[in-house]
């Protein structure tokens, strides 16, 4: 069964996961930003701002934003690396990448956009000062391969910053489960017209490695000085590691 992987709580052939995740994002692309605000009560903006402060972008740097989605992170990063820097947007999903590309342009910024798989990045080794991925790693089929790729494209001294849902503090688990499995799918059905997509979201969060496991994966991928920053009692966490 080694060619099976998780798609939420389902086990699906590895070859199918990318397609099924793509279908989820195709369905929710139009309402993606609104849903993010509703689901997190706007907190996702704070989480992204925190991730940016952890990434610490500087003028002149070259940054890769993997699974850029609607480019919330990329737009903020692009402004911080000016003048002289650049932020590359990548996403496996064309519709989401187009939204991100247009969003960045609407803010008067230029950023190259490349549709590609996070597990096979079409960039030279040691090319970026920083790689970021916000709420994207969870959806990748082989997280270890994706982490290895992101590490590969980092310059020595470069940092990888991951913002992702994580394991919530134990006493909050029941309330969080109720919210995830009852409220979220209902909200998804009402607003985005798609309960299944948001059920997938909740399930995929539960299947994602917890803080310590992900930190260990970063180390296995070759990163050093790995740190974890918990936000909202572990609902999300920021991981940062350096390629030394």
């Amino acid at each position: 069964m080694k060619d099976q992987t998780d798609f939420g709580y389902e086990r699906v052939p590895e070859a199918d996961k990318a397609r099924r995740v793509g279908a989820v994002f195709d369905r929710v692309a139009e309402r993606y930003d609104l849903m993010n605000d509703l689901m997190s009560l706007g907190l996702h903006r704070l989480w992204k701002a925190f991730a940016i402060s952890v990434a610490r972008p500087r003028p002149g740097e070259r940054i890769l934003d993997v699974a850029t989605g609607s480019a919330d992170l990329a737009a903020a990063l692009a402004r911080r690396v000016m003048p002289g820097g650049e932020v590359w947007l990548t996403d496996i999903n064309r519709r989401m990448l187009e939204r991100g590309r247009d969003r960045v342009l609407d803010e008067g910024l230029l950023a190259p956009a490349v549709q590609c798989d996070g597990e096979r990045l079409p960039f030279a080794t040691g090319h970026f000062d920083c790689v970021t991925v916000a709420f994207g790693l969870r959806n990748m089929t082989h997280k270890d391969r994706a982490l290895a790729e992101m590490t590969r494209v980092l310059k020595p001294g470069g940092r990888l910053v991951i913002l992702e849902f994580s394991k919530v503090w134990k006493p909050l688990e029941r309330a969080y489960d109720f919210y995830s499995f009852r409220v979220l799918p209902w909200l998804g059905r009402q607003v985005a017209g798609d309960a299944a997509a948001y059920r997938y979201l909740a399930e995929s969060i539960r299947m994602h490695p917890d803080q310590a496991s992900l930190a260990a994966m970063l180390e296995s991928a070759g990163l050093s000085r790995v740190e974890v920053f918990n936000l909202a009692a572990g609902v999300v966490a920021v991981h940062r590691g350096y390629r030394i």
Partner: protein
Amino acid sequence: MTKGLIGFCALAFSALLVVQTADAARLGGARSSGVQRSVPKTPPAATPAKPAQEQAAPNQAAPTAQPQPSGLARWMPALGGLALGGLLGYLFAGNGLGGILLLVLLAVVAVLAFRALARRGAQSPQPVQYAGMDRQTTLTPPPPSAPAPGDAMPTAARFPAGFDAASFLRGAKMNFVKLQFANDQGRLEDIREFTTDEMFEALERDIHERHGAGQQTDIESLDAQLVDLATEGPQHWASVRFSGRVREVPGAVPVDFAEVWNLVKPADGSSGWLLAGIQQMH
């Protein structure tokens, strides 16, 4: 003494104003220059500027009514804040009562948000009722057969079939940003690539006047609308209205801008679109 001080302050303040004006730095120096064409003063649709991803269907008649917030909608921000506070309090304090309250608030906020959304969706195509016109309603868009003089022409008939306005405008925006950057850096060869000879000379003069000193133009938001597309003799003309907010001096407050760029392209396709003139709209 006091008079002297006031006079000095006034002088210093006016000097500051002069410096800021002289530094007005975006491409073309916020002045009209080059080829000027007859273009509508207002954007083609009376709606506020929209981001690129919403412009895919520029020909739709735009509903202009801004629905007033209903009773529930008025309370949304307060309820949102309450819910946020509840959530934060719950997450950081973590007692059972907070959890119940949080879930109740979440449900309330979600229902209200959805209702507000549904109402907005339902309201916008409805005719607008003006004050003092009891029960009478009037459609806001004027009948297409009688456009008011000076108004934007209906865009539907303007652009030839197959003309991909969304892609064209995306390219126009990219070139707008690129040219601002080239202007900031004094990169004349980049400017020449995208401009006609006449326009290039004007822009080159601006750069020489500041002795090639570097500057920084930060665009905070950018919208582009195609206001005219025409073929005259051997040339295609496109007028693109750019608007948004720009910070022309680092640290200054960003200012609104609106200007039309007149772009020209030889009908034989011997070159791409070139900037031929800039018209200020303010």
